[in-house]
């Protein structure tokens, strides 16, 4: 609802001269103060007032090297049969409903603490290992092009003996389409491997998607830099401010994923094949690179703000100089005008034929001389 409004304001602003209307239209909207609240009010625990989803979609990919069956399921009970098969099952559940989560979790022997985490909101990315179940919780990130925000969707991945269950909040989008593509190829690496490789592939896909988000933020930073350099105004400051906040969202998601992947690598769970560990190391390399990069971005934005301040100061200085020049150049003329405008009886040259021209000449000569002095001192 709010976002809607936000976009409309922007649409109205852009075709017009934005600066003119800025002070009447919602500058605070541009500054994203409401976004601040969204970013700051993170409370993973007290009131996990997660509303049950209206709809839940369950898709099961049941596969081994040779065969793949895709099941669209409507009732959670229908999943139970995938617990004890000799194929590998990826049960992807879009939409989180408390009752269903508990139902399936109890069936697949997932510890109540993990159930709580799945149901929680705003949880920090984490991994856990209880009773031969490996659990990862992290966020998929999307970039909202319209208001330049980073959106997140929590995903829980549960790895068991021969199954992976993933819980997503939002049915309308995820980042796994290429993964699904690979699954459909017979004898592809993923089809030949065990369930932990599927888990790796999901983490890898999510982490790789972070780079796309960063690419977008990189474009934004470049755009802002050009705006700062070319024509910085109050709106630029607002936009830098907004970008700075999104960096917080980004970093908050990347930093703990390092620990998550690290935890998997150091885990001695039987679920993880030695060969797959090598692949998780690859994810680790990527997440570290993402982290380094996010540091670079932060530097860049800080730099941007310094630059903005410098630009504003430089502009200010130019204006100040004009003032100084005009004041200095015209002040003597004013004084001379005043001198010969006095009503004394006897003022020299007053009755002289060329008196006026002499006065005007002095008025002109003094500024010219001043300009030369100023120039020599390097003041303009």
């Amino acid at each position: 609802m709010l976002k809607e409004k936000n976009i409309q304001v922007k649409k109205i602003l852009d075709p017009l001269n934005p600066d003119k209307y800025l002070r009447y239209l919602g500058l605070p909207t541009l500054f994203g103060t409401r976004r601040t609240r969204e970013i700051l009010n993170v409370n993973p625990t007290i009131i996990p007032q997660r509303e049950d989803s209206q709809v839940i979609n369950i898709t099961v990919y049941e596969y081994n090297a040779n065969s793949l069956e895709i099941h669209e399921i409507t009732s959670i009970q229908d999943c139970f049969r995938f617990l004890n098969t000799d194929k590998i099952s990826w049960i992807n559940i879009d939409g989180i409903r408390k009752a269903d989560v508990e139902l399936i979790a109890n069936q697949f022997r997932i510890h109540p603490l993990i159930q709580e985490d799945i149901l929680s909101i705003n949880q920090r990315p984490k991994m856990d290992e209880i009773d031969n179940i490996l659990f990862c919780l992290l966020n998929m990130l999307y970039y909202n092009e319209q208001n330049n925000t980073v959106e997140q969707e929590q995903i829980s991945i549960v790895l068991g003996k021969n199954f992976v269950i993933s819980f997503q909040e939002d049915a309308s989008r995820d980042v796994f389409n290429t993964l699904r593509g690979k699954l459909k190829i017979n004898n592809s690496k993923i089809r030949q491997a065990t369930a932990d490789y599927l888990c790796y592939a999901m983490l890898d896909t999510i982490v790789d998607h972070y780079f796309i988000i960063m690419e977008k933020l990189g474009d934004l930073i470049e755009e802002l830099e050009e705006e700062v350099v070319r024509k910085s105004n109050k709106r630029t400051l607002a936009r830098i401010n907004v970008a700075r906040k999104e960096m917080i969202v980004l970093k908050r998601n990347i930093a703990p994923v390092r620990d998550l992947v690290n935890g998997i690598i150091r885990s001695e769970s039987d679920l993880l094949d030695d060969r797959t560990t090598r692949y998780f190391k690859d994810v680790h390399d990527h997440i570290i690179q993402a982290y380094d990069l996010s540091e670079n971005y932060r530097d860049m934005i800080m730099n941007l703000q310094d630059l903005y301040v410098s630009q504003v100061n430089l502009k200010m200085n130019e204006v100040m100089k004009v003032m100084a020049i005009v004041t200095c150049l015209l002040a003597p003329a004013t004084v001379i005008g005043g001198i010969f405008g006095m009503n004394f009886d006897s003022i020299p040259y007053l009755h002289n034929q060329y008196g006026f021209w002499i006065a005007v000449a002095i008025m002109l000569i003094i500024p010219v001389w001043m300009i030369r002095v100023f120039k020599r001192r390097g003041w303009f």
Copy 2:
């Protein structure tokens, strides 16, 4: 007493135009210099001049999976019988009196060092393990909505074989009401578990409450951000300053709790069941998230201050520009007026019929030309 005054000042200020009266009414009060003293003067040791509470309330929850008895006790001696029962006892003592603490501590074989800690003021959150007693000291935080400060109440939790003793300073409030609710439910998880689970539940409740405090601070930051953007004045600076101080209080309470929980997790005490350790890990995840978040808040407030400075500078620049414009535009007119006001005998056009109008026209043409030049240079 002081706080009372603080609030009244605010009430008087708000309906009026605050800026006008700011310099007469207590600006320092707004800046919270007295709060500074409160925050800085932390002395846990030298003169633990803790006054004995007037009243102490003792409530004992004695329970096992099947039965729960709640005892309201007035004399400390009546607690002694809970030492050797086969049920679990939670002895909650509101109000700290030196004599009583020593009496009960000696009875329950609590080491004198722990007794000292319980009696201390302004202690840093810590955990200790002596003689098969596990001891945690930390602060419950409350948010004072009226003057936007974070208030703290020290709580000591003593975990023994089948009892938990908690010492609170203030009888009027704590954060354990939901916990009490859960205790009253037969066969609830907490009723089925051992005393260490009760200890976990208490820590969990306290840490989770930190997020509520942070939520309030988040709201405050958002509010301040909007104030900075919309109509920043001296008072905004004072409020940012105040928020910055409360962040110190917050961080000082969160950071050492990490060590506390870590200490419990790494402890090899017999008091802690392996299964409960898993729960403490959950608390650990939360306290780390709280810590990360508090870092974000700090960034946010720093950002706010930068923003404030930028806003002030931008406003200043606008004023400067008006000066520049008015000075530049009117200065030539002044000079021309001076020229034709001189009393020379022969000044051209003086006796011309249209002389005056020509002069006035020049006075107008020059500024118009200047405006065009300035516009082209992007000065307004």
Copy 3:
């Protein structure tokens, strides 16, 4: 000598209006540039030009649980007999004389390196363990109320089998009076314990005294904050600067004491009883709290400086605004005055009866209109 002068300047300044005389009287004195040299020129090694004390006072507390004898000794040789007693001896030596230190150290088998440390000046707090001797060197801090500086006195504590020898620089003061009180009480904890407990008690007393120093600095910061907010001037800047330097002294003393206490806790020396280690952990908690607090102080002082700059800028802005307003409001009047002061023959309204009043009216109307425009734009 220097300090004397410093104080006198202050006394002269305070009753008068300080700002007026600041530029004639010693502003650099206020800025404490001589203090800078004291703080920076720390050289623990090259030229330990420690002058031998004129007087040395030796006090020995010889005690066990039942008896206490206090000996005032004048000759260092008289201490030798305390080496082999079955009581515990605390030999406190006020005043350091090279010959005496070497005499007693050789007698008590203290390693030459430790002797060097005892004789050194400006040594960093450290602990060492050689040949069954445990050695601690740190500073006692005092707060000089008169010129708001933190003064330090080096103390060396040597713990042996059943003796503690302490070397102090200055006979006139130390922080051990409460400790002496406790020693005089029969069967007090300290009287019943071994020598390592005495060593603990001394460290504890010294560290606890740090909090008193910090309390004073806290008061100073609060005072400065109020000064910044109420009436900041050049002198405030000087005082903030001075406080910043004292923070360096404080931190330089606290940070290495952490390592010192840590070293004792991890030591496996036979001199340290397991039960006493628990007490050293308590000192450790306190020194960490002191360290955290000193970080808070640093933040506070940084904050103060930001605040100072903001205040100065805000004041500057107000002045600028007045300029802008006066310039803008009066400039049109000047121009109009100039227009009708020109000596053209035919100027409209010049001969009109109300001409003057019309001109004056315009002079008034334009500023009134400008004020309204400015107000609407939020410029004052």
Copy 4:
């Protein structure tokens, strides 16, 4: 293409007065906003849209202590025979073509993950060890003198039993010419050693080349410093900004190479001789020194920016002072002129013969007196 344009702009600018045309010509070009995009958009994974090189050049150095043969090979298959020789082979492949990489990698039993890394773009420097193959990926840095950017070329080094395969992107340049020289010397250290020594020599050469890049950046910083001090203008700010970005590129390449070399040193691979490890330690020392140095550079550039701001402020202050002086000195004259220009009937001295001269004298005396007052207060 872009770079071309960049240089041309510079060429046009330099002979002319650059400042004059700066606002018309591409200031953003100078600020390097396009470079920002290059630096920020690092995406090692999602779309490794590496185009296959047009040409690939393969050069094989097959050597032992006594003989060296250099083969220029055109087809990848011709390399296969070097896998099983008792000489050491350095197979250097300039230009990366997916098919070829896979062909040779499979032949030499290089794990698919390593193949992926070789084919990737913008990978973070890393090392890996799979199936008795040691793999290093890092960047060679070059300094583009024309637009002062740091360019990077990815190099993959694969160390096997008796071979080293290196994959370079760009056939036109690398840093190994001195290395090739050493290889051609009979009985040189490198010729006598095993393949791991060749790998060391390559890393050493690459890391040592970093110092050349840093030397260039050092020159640039010195040049900028002189520019800031001598004649800082908007262009200087742009150049500092550009240098700051290149520092990010530099650091991003140096920091992970530390981990890379560390990984080799701690590796227990059979491929690495104990004696060679010593040499890798030497590389480690160098890369740490490079890292320290890059920190110094960062400090230097920050310093530069502070300096720039200080210079701009100082200049501004001088201009402000001139304003103040002119305003103050001429304002009294204006007032006096106004006073005696009033049309009152009876103005004293108006009919006095020396009246005019008295007025002018006062106009002169007041400024002279003001100058003396200002001087005494140290205002100029």
Copy 5:
């Protein structure tokens, strides 16, 4: 050559009024931009273009507890006989010549990597242990009083079974004179100890000398602080800038020496006696104190720069205020002058006898009233 010039400029400047000539004489020289290049262009590896020294002086101290022989040797071959003696030999070589270094190194079985390090320039301080040889490379620091720079001379210390070889670059100076003195004393500690103690003594002397350098820098900082407070000008900024650079040199030398000494302490080489390790720990304490101190210095210099900016701003503010006051006070007078200077026929009071005086009175009353208003608002 360069330094020479630098000093001369200073000598010319000082007796004259420096500020006046600053813009004509070499300000960049004062800013030390050439020094920047020296500090930044550190390249330990690529082109170790070390020129062979013209002269090399070899001095050998051959000693045991009872006897000491000092040999002045001219040919490197004469040293060879000290390899196998039962006395301890300190071979000090002033001046580094490639051939000689290789000759002696091969004779004393020093690894080629160490030889390379000895011959290198600008190497980072490091220690190494190869083939029962312990090698330390670090810099001796000197303070150049004339241009306030920290100069460094590389020293390599090679510790073998019963010999220490030290390589110095510059024959004209070192820091070992006190050490030589101690060696000449029969039965001194150093004469009784093994070769590792000599090595310790050398490191200790070098590290202790760092404190002397820091003392000088401390004096410089104090001097700068007084200059900032008393009469800051552009030259002060240049000097702060220069000091900041020297801090980089200092820190670059101190930080890695920590690792060096640490490496010795943790080494398990047979060359190091357990008792000597204790002494190295003492060096470690000193180098850590030096490091802490260098951090304090950095803070101090940062502080200085803040102070400088504050001072400049305060001065600026004073000037601005004067402007504001003069403008405000005289503007009304100008307007009134203009009003009564208009040429209207009927202006009230124009023909009044006291009209002029009334006008002048108003001109005076308005400023007096304004002054009172301004004072009440605290504007001066």
